[in-house]
Point group: C2
Chain length 82, copies 2
Amino acid sequence: MPQFMDVHRGMTGLSPEQLDEAHRADLAIQAEEDVNFKQAWADPAEGIVFCLSEAPSADAIKKIHERAGHPTEEVYEVSLQV
Amino acid sequence: MPQFMDVHRGMTGLSPEQLDEAHRADLAIQAEEDVNFKQAWADPAEGIVFCLSEAPSADAIKKIHERAGHPTEEVYEVSLQV
């Protein structure tokens, strides 16, 4: 399954609870697009969030994130990993 | 130890061997700044690379990446993780 890193911006001041809630909102519906969100990291000072996932396509990720209330168009297929 | 995600751009066409070589160049000198590069993911089509690390500061990461031949100013302290 291809692996992706997506990026969310404008999240300045994000709390641990808000990140957890957003992640759980993704997890709750991810199976409907065959997405597996593996991990997420956030820099609340800069308002940026990185999500690592496995998915059939970038579009599948965009659909889940949008339905979960935090849409992004910035999705990268990270085909290489070390 | 704080955790960071840094981003490299302009890496279009990056090969698995080039990513591996760049990562090994970081690992070879990371101890000199007390940095621990944990993982890296690359999208060769978009030319973007994400590096996850633990380090005492963003500046320490910038120093290692610059000395290893792939400088970046885009370093985020990802204090939250799920």
